[in-house]
Symmetry: C2
Subunit: 409 residues, 2 copies
């Protein structure tokens, strides 16, 4: 550089694992960023619970990075920053999935950048790819493994651990929090799918509108039987066009081994985007870790410095559809006597549930019936299964898990 | 829109498969692009071999799309366009891998955008991810399957076809050209790796500096033996830091089944980017097809409209290193008599080639020795194998194929 570059001041809100890693990375990479941007990013003020003053930090910042988490005061700080004409970068999925429109609208009004790659899928750059590479592509469907904790647990369960063992292992290895409920309940994944759905389909989706189901109730048995059908089990978030509307949900889901998400193991995240124009692309990489998340945040900062994408366009709402078709795996414990299978399939048939494959296995006086159905509307499946559960020969609550049937290359 | 939007005029050079698909997609998506950009992209002039005038097209265009291919006149047109202050989007890998620096420098000088997502890996948005998401990340290594034709052929060979059968099949299915030499020789992949290496490492790499080797000489046998070692065969491009410099190459390569590229089948492309900060991310999707390539080109156009990334920074050259370490698979046909294995391993050992695993199989008077080595410098391996080939008990030219040893999650 022949002339001294004007620094680009970054105000940092939050100094936990991600904040500290971000400050370190920013320092490490400042030279290189200056080399291709002309300006050198430097850390301005830092706000923690015990030190720093937001107004002062805002005053001198070119951009505000928010990695404090939670709804308030993060929301208020980001709104104030944008109203003051400052760009913002956030990793806050709770906030975006509950107050996204307010934030996007404020960014549009004040013509500032609002970037949030780190909020969605760890290091996997799906936000940028949706916002930019695919912004001119009509998307049909997104499937994602967007929670590394649950994917780690399910991977361990596939290798023979019980849910409790796998969770304890994840906690020891730092892949699960002491209180893992946000992850294992599916709520964390639901927040991320709400954000992805907004980007991909232009429809505002609030966290509360995402149907989600966690992994706490899964049995090792489900995984064993699934193997007999050539299936693997993942916690899959889905956002897709259905019956003229949009369906967004998170469920434990069986995948055939050819599916691109079936090979994603451990704490990795991955997202598959399908459209008629591009067929399907898959992005995968490590889920969150302090340094990985910080790297995604820094990528957003650099993107703002180079003049990146605009905030999402004003919404173009699609109706949110709740009751959609899906294939199901169905597991029944029954008393082993003649006519049981016939009675079950008769009731299922009356509700439009047709069976694709079935395995029956005797165990003394009892038997297990494990089936995979053809696609059926959720509500019909639930009604049918409730009726099956009323038979006196059914000895425990029937268990159902969704199945993605598509095979890929 | 309350006021009429000013159109954004796109001049199109080339109207083959990609050009025609691009014109169609642009028309289809213009409303949606206008909705989030405010301006409506419209097709300005079109230049083909038989119609159109470049000067007129340039005059009225906001941006030039070049999908004519070849070096000249594409190079001259792009330079003229940038000098006239027009943004450009190209899908031309030959041009970028041979005249990239000239083009990048012209873009920087005239402060215009030069985008080329479609030149590298079909719909896989690796250019954008390297330029933007990972621009602040020190990258250690890139592995890519960047040629769909050869991946299709190798997938078919893995399923039992001979090279000739698989090639004929690829030609029938439209995955290979009538003259497939640019693909099967590895040259097309080498051009793409040169471009990726420039983006990831900041070092100008000319196509002529990329060592490449194609798939024409591969035998069905190699694939069968490989399976015994748990290996799959892909044409892999590699760009990586080695001994303080940069090594860029394309070779048929065996991968262990846990490697993220091992699962990429058919005409798909995929790229894995490794760095200490992010561990490793993988992007995959369909290789080229007219409509897919056009979709990547349109993504670049939209990116320019929204103010995308700058051209690559001025180069920061690393030395290009040619002679690097790699593990190898080694296949020998020998006369089956005592002492053969001992003689072979002795010569290999003298050149620092140590054996990780070996399979010997008798076939009447003959035997096959198939080995996987520990990592060894290329030149040592070549010398050692040449000496082994001189033994009178070796009955055909020894065959070697690289192996990537790393296991992933």
């Amino acid at each position: 550089m022949s002339e001294p570059a004007q620094p680009f001041k970054v105000g940092l809100l939050g100094f936990g694992t991600v904040g500290a890693a971000f400050a370190e990375l920013l320092e490490e990479r400042a030279d290189e960023i200056q080399r291709f941007n002309g300006r050198r990013p430097t850390l301005g003020g830092v706000l923690t619970r015990s030190r720093g003053d937001f107004a002062e930090i805002l005053e001198e910042a070119d951009l505000i990075v928010e990695v404090m988490g939670g709804i308030e005061p993060a929301r208020e700080y980001l709104l104030q920053a944008m109203r003051a004409g400052k760009h913002v970068v956030t990793a806050n999925k709770q906030l975006l999935s509950q107050h996204g429109e307010e934030l996007f609208e404020t960014a549009r009004e004040h013509d500032v950048r609002l970037r949030f790659e780190a909020a969605v899928a760890g290091t996997v750059p799906v936000v940028r790819v949706l916002e930019e590479s695919l912004s001119a592509t009509p998307i049909e469907r997104i499937h994602g493994i967007v929670n590394g904790t649950t994917n780690y647990i399910l991977t361990e369960m596939t290798r023979g651990s019980s849910y409790e063992e796998a969770l304890a292992d994840a906690q020891r290895s730092g892949y699960a929090e002491a209180d893992p409920s946000d992850d294992v309940s599916g709520r964390d994944a639901a927040a991320k799918m709400a954000i992805l759905a907004r980007l991909a389909f232009g429809t505002p989706v609030h966290l509360d509108q995402v149907q989600y189901e966690g992994i706490e109730h899964l049995h090792r048995d489900d995984l064993e039987y699934a193997r007999e059908f050539g299936l693997g089990l993942k916690l899959i978030g889905t956002a897709e066009r259905r019956r003229g509307g949009l369906s967004v949900s998170v469920h434990p889901t069986f995948l055939y081994s050819g599916h691109p998400l079936a090979a994603i193991n451990g704490s990795f995240n991955a997202v598959t985007v399908e459209s008629e124009t591009i067929t399907e692309i898959t992005l995968s990489g490590p889920g969150a870790g302090g340094r990985q998340t910080a790297s995604a945040v820094l990528g957003d900062v650099v993107s703002v410095m180079t003049g990146g994408a605009r905030p999402p366009a004003p919404p173009l709402p699609l109706e949110l559809v709740q009751d959609v078709e899906s294939a199901y795996y169905l597991h029944l414990d029954v008393v082993d006597r003649p006519g049981v299978l016939a009675s079950v399939t008769k009731v299922l048939g009356e509700h439009g549930v047709s069976i694709k494959s079935v395995v029956q296995r005797g165990m003394g006086e009892n038997a297990r019936l494990v089936m995979v159905t053809h696609p059926v509307i959720d509500s019909s499946l639930r009604t049918a299964v409730a009726r099956v559960g009323e038979f006196d020969f059914v000895s425990s609550t029937p268990r159902t898990i969704r199945v993605i049937e598509e095979e890929f290359v």
